[in-house]
């Protein structure tokens, strides 16, 4: 009775009544392995983290972005030179390479000095490496003095050039300013422009999309049409028009905020749409109806049920739109209509590389493009990973 009768390869005959001798364990289907137990006790955010961790590329990108954002807190210390310090003897000097061997002997990292000569035929500044001049790099040292976040004066740097020596690892620009230091300072502006912009568009998107989705009717219709109109405007001319309205007399910091507001004002439409569609979907969930039937008021339903329901999803989509802001700032500044010197951003730095001759003769002026690309890729990977993790059906 307890062995399944061998059916044989396609044997026939009446089917004998088979009864398994396995006991009936009613709880068998409900038993959990420790791994399942861990997942079962996790909250939605913990589940997201578990899923996010599986996305290697997103994890690495997230770590990279985190490092960059930590870096902008202390960029004065990290940069070898002060942002604006000029080296008139080294205008548009090419990048110096870092060495650790001098004539076959190992020593601490150093750079060779430059000998400058103006080529009178084509007026090109020519720098030749002089291996007799060795400028060892100093660590944890005093160098250019700076005002840390504009609060107090200090001169501590992580790395500095040798006393009376130079260290232009990424070359210098037309005023003889160190490119590396300026890229580090520029990160402070370029990376935060996206963040402030995203907060503005996030706020507008949640407010307008939320009201449209929850109340529907005429307000929804007006918002939808407004979104369509904003969508149909060509972005660059509008940016330009708005940016040109900013008075030239404004201080650079005011211009900075004006630019972020412009970027935010142009970008809220996508978020408003996704908030609205998410709300429309969530409103149909039974648990929202249940809350209504319990007697919950509208603010409670929105705050306790609807917003938490789509927040993770929204954060993910917001992450993906940050690169758009960074690119927007870069484009505006490149065209000379965004941020203006003395503010340093990657876009402002690229402004110098507008002339094709300049790019051909001094290609290192294009280097600020590299951090732009890296940051945008990292944001895209990171946002992708977040979105997958926030998706309950993944």
């Amino acid at each position: 009775m307890n062995v399944m009768p061998p059916a044989g390869p396609l044997g026939s005959g009446p089917l004998p009544h088979y009864v398994s001798n396995a006991p009936f364990d009613p709880k068998a289907a409900e038993k959990l392995s420790p791994a399942q137990e861990r997942i079962y006790l996790a909250s939605q955010w913990q589940l997201m983290w578990i899923k996010f961790k599986r996305h290697r590329l997103a994890l690495v990108s997230g770590a990279f972005l985190l490092a960059l954002y930590l870096m902008i807190l202390v960029c004065e210390v990290l940069a070898p030179y002060e942002n604006q310090s000029r080296h008139t003897d080294f205008i548009r000097a090419p990048p110096q390479s870092l060495h650790i061997f001098d004539n076959g002997t190992l020593r601490s990292p150093f750079v060779y000095g430059y000998v400058y000569k103006l080529n009178l035929e084509n007026l090109k500044r020519e720098y030749t490496v002089d291996t007799n001049q060795v400028h060892p790099i100093r660590f944890f040292c005093s160098g250019d003095s700076y005002r840390f976040w504009g609060l107090f004066t200090a001169d501590f740097h992580l790395v500095c050039p040798a006393k009376d020596g130079q260290m232009f690892l990424l070359g210098t620009d037309r005023l003889g300013r160190d490119m590396l230091s300026r890229i580090i300072y520029g990160a402070r502006i370029s990376l935060t422009v996206g963040l402030i912009g995203i907060f503005i568009s996030f706020g507008l998107g949640i407010l307008l999309g939320g009201l449209a989705g929850y109340y529907g009717g005429t307000f929804d219709m007006l918002t939808q049409r407004a979104i369509e109109i904003v969508h149909s405007l060509p972005h660059i001319p509008i940016w330009l028009a708005l940016a040109s309205v900013i008075p030239a007399s404004w201080s650079p910091i005011l211009v900075y905020f004006a630019i972020t507001i412009i970027l935010g004002l142009m970008d809220w439409t996508g978020l408003a749409r996704s908030v609205r569609s998410k709300l429309l979907a969530l409103r149909e969930e039974d648990y929202v109806l249940a809350a209504q039937l319990m007697g919950a008021r509208t603010p409670r339903i929105v705050g306790r049920h609807l917003i938490p329901g789509f927040m993770s999803h929204l954060i993910a989509s917001a992450t993906i739109t940050i690169p758009k802001m960074i690119l927007g700032e870069t484009a505006l500044s490149f065209l000379g209509l965004g941020l203006r010197p003395p503010i340093t951003s990657w876009g402002v730095m690229l402004n110098e590389a507008q002339n094709i001759n300049v790019v051909a003769l001094y290609p290192w002026l294009m280097i600020p493009v590299v951090p732009v690309i890296l940051v945008i890729l990292a944001f895209n990977f990171f946002g992708d990973g977040l979105r997958d993790a926030a998706d309950p059906y993944h």
């Binding site: 399944m4 044997g11 009936f24 009613p26 648990y287 008021r297």
Partner: protein
């Protein structure tokens, strides 16, 4: 015909999950004799669908066959089946030449949800013909003729016109017929039917089952029927395989299984099934009983309602609701509405359970939403009698409605969507008390613990999230939440239709116990007549937005008057070999088809309108006021 068409030998299937191999099917062996029907019965998660996927070579990427063979006898068409060549499907390459040759040609398959299994961008004729052209390429005009012939066989009245229809133009029953035509166009030797009628109404289900039987006789194919419904098994199967948690518990002929069940699991499953002829007070036996402790709750009832038979707690009069008549934006034209609820009146007495049955689209869910004032009716009145005063729900403004809410609560159908995935169980059950400011946070937490034990959940689970609970446990959470405000009337909207039979019995018993101990009144909505029969004292039957019959439970089941009620009752498959479905009666058409109702029940244009006819003992039927009772019974 002799021999088996398919033989499964010690089949084991495992799925990789979080890097671990999880065995979901363990050493399963069974056979399918040629031309016979084998039913594979089990609860959700038992592995029955995985076996069917393995036979079709459609296992998901994470899954794989770890042991055993699936032997299929492949014979050329028209050839004697016993001479066929035997192939092992388990050894076939995924999506390779061999398995694609079998799929559709030798083995056909139909699924539970015919809407999502048919493409909406091709006509059904094209889709059926595609299956034919893949295996038996024939000229276009011949293919069309063959396809139309097939459509006729599966019961399309006008095959020529139906060929050019799209799936969304067809009803659920016709879609499943089109699926059958697609699966059978190549005359396969084996048809796998995975829950083929679960998404259909009972009368349509009976017709599709009838069709499967007659096509089987015509083509001589074998059927592997995968289902959780023992009633369908008893009506269709020759041999039955009962599977639980990936292992076969019992197998045998349909006679053996139903007349002489041996294994404790099968016995428990049969005991958990609501039957029509249960004695008053007889209880279902749940497979796994959860400890319920109602003691603490009973003490917190505000007043012990003295239930007298005439005490009406809620009375609904002339309720009417039309949908779809809203304006569609600036340029859209406004469309005429669809009447969802049409002149519905009924009373619910204190302490009773009023059942509401009807097929999908009959308007029963709309009635529940109107009662809860989740939707505003076009006209009609709903009056709640709290014992001391009569409250007109239609006249309540927002604030007073909010204050009234605790008296009436609702239990939802879908245990997944009815609980917020971002709140812990504690917060979910506590929410209604927070909204109404019932007690201090400590008192609320204590009451949540009491509610948890009352519905049979371990109070240690308080800080878990809903995703960690099974369907039955989630439904318990929903019940606890509905009880939190101490309601007097609870509207249960299909509370067990998303649950397995074994879990269904638990929830039904829980609801019954709560009703008895707490003196609750229920409105119980379901499409399952057996479940309503188990729960309700009186039953109302809805069709086309109207209540066509309302009667005490025994009267409705013993002396149904309305043709719709009769058809519904006849279409329920019993898990009992001695009460087979009357397929001849059911093949006439759908129960909601008014053409079959007889003149006394149909309103003609300009004729006398229908009224509620009193048959005595609280039995009312919707008919012409001048209709003779003898006519009705005819």
């Amino acid at each position: 015909m002799q021999g088996n068409i398919l033989s499964i030998e010690e089949l084991s299937i495992a799925f990789a999950l979080h890097g671990q191999q999880n065995e979901v099917v363990r050493k399963v062996s069974f056979r399918i004799p040629a031309g016979k029907t084998v039913a594979l019965v089990g609860e959700s998660g038992s592995g029955k669908s995985v076996i069917s996927q393995a036979i079709m070579g459609l296992l998901p990427k994470a899954g794989g066959i770890t042991h055993g063979r699936i032997l299929f006898r492949k014979s050329a068409h028209g050839e004697d089946a016993s001479k066929g060549q035997i192939v092992d499907i388990a050894g076939f390459e995924r999506d390779g030449e061999d398995i694609r040759d079998l799929r559709g040609d030798h083995i056909g398959m139909i699924f539970q949800e015919p809407m999502s299994s048919l493409s909406p961008v091709h006509t059904i004729g094209d889709q059926i013909e595609e299956a034919l052209q893949l295996h038996r390429p024939v000229p276009k005009d011949q293919a069309r003729a063959k396809t139309e012939e097939m459509l006729k066989l599966v019961g399309f009245r006008d095959p020529h016109a139906s060929y050019d229809k799209y799936s969304f133009e067809l009803s659920g029953g016709l879609r499943q017929r089109a699926m059958l035509a697609m699966a059978l166009i190549c005359r396969p030797a084996l048809l796998i039917a995975d829950e083929p009628t679960t998404a259909l109404d009972v009368t349509i289900q009976a017709q599709v089952l009838d069709l499967m039987r007659s096509l089987q006789n015509e083509f001589g194919m074998a059927i592997l029927l995968i289902t959780h419904d023992l009633g369908i098994v008893a009506n269709l199967a020759d041999e039955v395989v009962v599977i639980y948690h990936g292992e076969i518990m019992e197998a045998g002929t349909v006679e053996d299984i139903f007349r002489n069940p041996q294994h404790p699991y099968l016995k428990a499953l049969i005991r958990a099934l609501p039957q029509f002829d249960m004695k008053p007070g007889e209880r279902l036996v749940a497979l796994r009983d959860a400890k319920q402790d109602l003691g603490a709750l009973v003490g917190t009832r505000r007043h012990a309602p003295a239930a007298t038979a005439s005490d009406v707690i809620l009375s609904v009069r002339n309720l009417r609701k039309t949908y779809g008549s809203r304006k569609a934006g600036w340029f859209g034209a406004s469309s005429a509405g669809v009447v969802a609820v049409d002149d519905v009146s009924f009373d619910i007495k204190r302490g009773e359970c009023l059942g509401l049955v009807g097929e999908s689209g009959s308007g029963k869910t709309t009635v529940s939403k109107l009662m809860m004032r989740a939707v505003k009716p076009d006209s009609g009145s709903i009056v709640f009698n709290s014992g001391s005063e009569a409250i007109d729900l239609m006249a309540l403004d927002e604030e007073r409605l909010r204050a009234f809410r605790p008296k009436m609560q609702m239990i939802f159908q879908d245990p997944v969507s009815s609980l917020s995935p971002r709140m812990t169980v504690l917060n979910i059950i506590r929410e209604p008390m927070e909204i109404h400011g019932d007690g201090t946070p400590e008192e609320q937490t204590r009451r949540v613990t009491e509610l948890m034990s009352a519905v049979g959940l371990d109070p240690r689970f308080l800080n878990r999230y809903p995703h960690s609970f099974s369907g039955g446990q989630r439904q318990r959470i929903g019940i606890a939440r509905a009880l939190a405000l101490n309601p007097e009337l609870i509207v249960c909207d299909e509370p067990v239709s998303a649950l397995d039979v074994s879990v269904q019995a638990q929830i039904l018993n829980l609801l019954k116990d709560l009703q008895k101990e707490l003196g609750l009144t229920y409105m119980f909505i379901s499409h399952n007549l057996a479940v309503v029969d188990y729960m309700a004292n009186r039953i109302a039957v809805m069709a086309h937005g109207r209540i066509v019959e309302i009667a005490p439970r025994h009267a409705l089941f013993n002396r149904p008057m309305h043709p719709y009620t009769r058809a519904l009752l006849k279409a329920v498959p019993f898990a009992d070999l001695d009460r087979p479905l009357d397929f001849n009666y059911l093949s006439r058409g759908s129960a909601s088809d008014t053409r079959l109702w007889g003149p006394a029940f149909v309103e003609e244009a300009g004729g006398t309108s229908l009224g509620s006819l009193d048959l005595g003992d609280g039995h009312f039927v919707l008919a012409k006021p001048n209709a003779d009772l003898k006519d009705l019974q005819a």
